[in-house]
């Protein structure tokens, strides 16, 4: 029988990592993800794992870089401002092709913003917010259960592509309590790490392995860029994930991710119950973005409503996918129920906007 818990999304992140055999965590406290740091501080010593409370997010990401270089499964987490501090390190992990997982439990921005929820990091996670030409695979769960499962998938994709993978949640997903079924997901065999992981050369007459974070210093920079671009193309072809409903039969399609997709999902079901021809698309991978399903739907659907708790970030990806074949509207931060940072986009607000626009 599966083990069941009633826990919050932040702890589900931790359980997902443990079930993926992650035994290394480096973290710095920041609201609203402190439960993640505390989870690993409590749980990792019990299984012989490594927990380090770092002096900054810069330190977290660089310790993660060191640990990832030894081939172990390792992760860090932070929230918006702390994630910004990690960006140089994430670019370096991508450049050095090191597998690891980084969770961003979003809070309000810009700047110090606030400690409550928002979805304002879409751009900084999907565009490879650090320097240089790279992308992150970004997974966006919309429930506690999905958080647990996507963390396991994240470690698999990280190892498969030798690349950092981002889990993007927010204060709502992180703080809300839901039922969680603990179970291990099996993704099949993954590439061996022995050829590149730093584990010391031992007694062999080995020249030693060398992990270079500046691909342009040694070797052919152009060949490196071509090879890495092929890797991004492969991810774009193979790793797109989304949840969709009634996209073939809709006058209006709601596109939403993360916590705001929960409000949107209720609105979509309610609209269907009321006989409205409404469809629903929830990107699970924010990069690579499910452009094709949206583009296909735009052939016969005339209106799209993007629901996201920001000023319109995923909106631009939807507009690019739609290619002016349909109207694209935003239900964003202006639709929150309160003017303070405690405001949220309620399900009934989404339904009301759907009815107004359809």
């Amino acid at each position: 029988m599966l083990e069941k818990r009633l826990i919050n999304g932040n702890e589900a992140l931790g359980y997902g990592a443990l079930y993926a055999d992650c035994r290394c965590y480096f973290g710095y406290p920041i609201t609203p993800q402190n439960e993640v740091v505390e989870f690993f501080a409590r749980e990792l010593p019990k299984v012989g794992g490594v927990f380090v409370q770092t002096e900054s997010e810069v330190s977290s990401i660089n310790m993660l870089y060191g640990a990832a270089a030894t081939g172990v499964r390792a992760m860090t987490s932070s929230s918006s401002t702390g994630f910004s501090l990690m960006q140089e390190g994430i670019s370096t992990l991508a450049a050095s092709e090191l597998p690891c997982v980084i969770a961003d439990v979003q809070r309000g921005g810009p700047g110090g913003g606030n400690t409550q929820t928002s979805q304002m990091d879409y751009m900084q996670v999907t565009r490879g917010g650090g320097n240089g030409g790279y992308h992150n695979i970004v997974l966006s769960p919309a429930s506690v259960q999905e958080t647990f499962e996507l963390v396991q998938l994240a470690f698999c994709l990280a190892d498969k592509y030798r690349h950092p993978v981002i889990i993007l949640t927010d204060a709502i997903i992180g703080q809300m309590q839901e039922g969680l079924e603990l179970h291990r997901l099996d993704f099949g065999p993954l590439p061996d790490k022995k050829s590149w992981a730093l584990t010391t050369v031992g007694d062999h007459d080995d020249p030693g392995r060398f992990i270079q974070n500046a691909p342009g210093i040694l070797g052919s920079y152009r060949d490196y860029m071509i090879r890495i671009t092929k890797k991004y193309q492969e991810m774009t072809e193979k790793e797109v994930r989304y949840q969709a409903g009634h996209t073939e039969d809709a006058d209006l399609i709601v596109v939403s991710f993360g916590s705001s997709a929960r409000s949107s999902l209720w609105a979509y079901h309610q609209a269907r119950k009321e006989g409205l021809r409404v469809g629903f698309i929830r990107p699970i991978t924010l990069w690579p973005f499910p452009t094709q399903i949206i583009r296909a739907a735009a052939q016969h659907t005339k209106k799209f409503v993007v629901v996201e708790d920001n000023l319109g970030q995923m909106l631009r990806d939807v507009q690019a996918a739609v290619q002016d074949k349909a109207e694209v509207h935003l239900v964003g931060i202006a639709h929150r129920h309160l003017v303070t940072s405690s405001g949220m986009i309620f399900p009934k607000t989404v339904l009301q906007e759907v009815k107004r626009l359809i």
Binding site: E55, N62, L198, T199, T200, V201, G208, F210
Partner: protein, 281 residues
């Protein structure tokens, strides 16, 4: 006995010392010669790409000799900082990684901890890398009592970027960002990293060396070996600052650079061991 010129003689980049040769085949009378000084076994047979008179090559030779003498090549992982010294990391036949600017102690921490303390992990960092952008990383790594070793190359300036002021630049020293010489008002004072870190509980061994003579080189080798031994014994952080000549930054010839270290840098940065304990609380 007449010796022919032999193109197969390989020489040490800086000193011109013979490191390997097939000379006995090219002399009229066969004489067996014993090589008494050669490239350390743990170093690749590669030419140096550092400037003439730069002592970073010598620092890597020192590290190589220490690794060979302690027989730890197979257990080492090196972490290179950002700067000219980082080029040396590829000279060693060990597992190695390059770190972002200033972050080597954190990367080393990640490596050491993830492998449950098994490997011998060391960083090589310059003064801009360690004492400016990476001072916070350094102090926190020492404060955690990480079992790591850092070799700190102090050449009183930023060499790679063309000779700007570093925190270690001497007062009145002319650099490209202190064209009138470093003045304390607005530019601060030379920072004494070995002494500063020696005040910390997590530090097991902190020392400063120079490479101004063969005797100093031998002293530095002994010091670096002691530093590695502190890590092997699991005592705490070990740190060796090495005063290093950078002729382009000093705007001097290689020989004048060594003399300037002796006349100016040694006065500001005295050599010695500032902390040496066998146990930290």
């Amino acid at each position: 006995m007449k010796r022919k010129v032999d193109e197969n003689v390989k020489r040490e980049p800086f000193s011109g010392r013979i490191i390997s040769s097939t000379i006995k085949e090219n002399i009229d009378e066969k004489v067996e010669r014993e090589i008494v000084y050669s490239r350390p076994e743990c170093m690749h047979d590669l030419p140096t790409i550092l400037c003439p008179g730069c002592q970073h090559g010598l620092i890597y030779r020192l590290i190589g000799e220490a690794i060979d003498e302690l027989k730890i090549r197979g257990h080492c992982i090196g972490v290179g900082g950002v700067g000219c010294h980082a080029m040396g990391m590829g000279m060693l036949k060990i597992d190695a990684i390059m770190a972002l600017h200033g972050r080597a102690p954190e990367v080393a921490t990640g490596i050491k901890r993830s492998l449950h303390g098994k490997p011998i992990v060391f960083t090589v960092q310059g003064d801009g890398d360690l004492a400016a952008i990476g001072m916070g990383d350094m102090i926190n790594a020492v404060n955690r009592g990480e079992k790591l070793t850092t070799i700190f190359c102090n050449n009183a300036g930023y060499g790679t970027t063309g000779g700007q002021m570093a925190p270690t630049t001497l007062l009145d020293q002319v650099t490209t960002t202190t064209p009138e010489g470093r003045q304390p008002q607005g530019f601060g004072y030379p920072i004494h990293v070995a002494e500063l870190l020696a005040t910390m509980t997590g530090m097991a061994f902190s020392a400063r060396c120079a490479l101004t003579s063969p005797a100093q080189f031998n002293q530095a080798l002994k010091t670096v070996k002691t530093a590695f031994q502190k890590q092997i014994d699991g005592v705490g952080y070990s740190f060796v600052e090495i005063l290093s000549a950078c002729p382009p930054t000093f705007k001097k010839t290689p020989l004048e650079s060594i003399k300037w270290i002796m006349s100016h840098m040694l006065e500001e940065y005295p050599l010695g061991i500032f902390k040496d304990v066998d146990k930290i609380p």
